[in-house]
């Protein structure tokens, strides 16, 4: 465990470079229409894959608790929108389910 600083710096480098390169490659050119549509699909595709199925491991002992929190976010978000209340509310619902109060 004595050589941990080089590991951290190496990890920092291989994390930073993939974050930087696309900016250097793409930001000063106009991209082809198809590539543009491809790029515009990335956020929705990424968010789908980031949520499913990862959310089930947010509360590993009781996946239903995290699912309950997400259901609150889903309904409140569709009904009223916003970010803060759906997020804090989901934590509250998850907490109550874990406590066994819901």
């Amino acid at each position: 465990m004595n050589n941990i600083i080089p590991i951290i710096l190496g990890m920092a480098a291989v994390t930073y470079l993939p974050r930087l390169l696309p900016f250097l490659i793409l930001s000063n050119r106009t991209v082809h229409k198809r590539l543009d549509v491809f790029l515009k699909c990335i956020p929705a595709a990424a968010i789908g894959a980031l949520i499913i199925p990862g959310v089930l491991s947010a509360t590993p002992d009781m996946p239903m608790a995290a699912l309950g929190g997400m259901i609150f976010t889903l309904f409140f978000g569709l009904w009223r929108g916003g970010i803060i209340i759906p997020v804090l509310g989901s934590v509250a619902v998850t907490y109550l389910i874990l406590l066994g109060m819901i």
Binding site: I7, M11, A12, I25, C41, A44, A45
Partner: protein
């Protein structure tokens, strides 16, 4: 300015619990406070830091840990590629700085803002995330897990509900967006179940496959500035 703080705040809240968990775990892996700080301050990538701690404990060597980190974090390449189309001209001098803070949540929040992204907006959102991540790691290391365990666990759902809350208004407006989100999530669940791709790569495959399908099927010219 006010909007940027508002956009960054949920990430700030969402990052504190996992960051503290990282600090607590780092301490049990006999890592020093400075090393724990350096981890979060220099790498700034949640999942890969936890994986690195696990690999350290299994005795994996430097090269293996760094290679794993590259694989786990490579999805940010696609996220930066998207953000590069959204960035304000005046921000282009600061690319090297702006690129550092492209995490999953920062990317997601920035993606669904209206119009071109200014340098100050991006930096405020990123600083909200960064300060919570680095501060939380150090606090977790020093204080240990002082929040009730169940509450900490419940807060784990915040990052996921943040992503869901960001995408919902777009899903409501566009059936295509809903389809992209759901097919990508289902594909990811299937790929993880099949279990032949390393950590982090199921997400990359999902983004590539689903966005390619999108580029193939979505024909009308999207002159909109935002994402689909």
């Amino acid at each position: 300015m006010k909007n940027a703080v508002k956009a960054g705040f949920p990430i700030f809240i969402g990052y504190i619990p996992p960051a503290m968990a990282f600090g607590v775990l780092a301490k049990t892996c006999s890592i020093t406070l400075f090393e724990c700080f350096l981890f979060s301050a220099a790498v700034f990538a949640g999942a890969s830091q936890f994986i690195a701690l696990n690999l350290l404990m299994t005795g994996m060597g430097t090269a293996g840990i760094i290679l794993t980190t590259l694989l786990v974090n490579f999805r940010h390449f696609l996220m930066s590629a998207y953000l590069s189309t959204r960035i304000d001209k005046l921000a282009k001098k600061y690319l090297a700085l702006l690129a550092f803070g492209v995490t999953d949540e920062v990317f997601s929040v920035l993606s669904f803002q209206k119009g071109q992204l200014s340098k100050s907006f991006i930096l405020i959102v990123q600083f909200s995330a960064y300060s919570a991540w680095v501060g939380g790691s150090v606090a977790g290391f020093i204080l240990g897990g002082f929040l009730p365990e169940l509450l900490t666990k419940s807060m784990g759902v915040a990052l996921y509900s943040l992503l869901l809350a960001i995408i919902l208004p777009e899903v409501k407006k566009s059936f295509k967006t809903a389809l992209l989100v759901i097919t990508s999530g289902v594909l990811n669940a299937v790929l993880i179940k099949l279990g032949f791709l390393p950590d982090g790569w199921t997400i990359i495959v999902c983004i590539l496959v689903i966005s390619c399908a999108g580029a193939f099927f979505i024909t009308e010219n999207p002159h909109q500035e935002k994402s689909l």
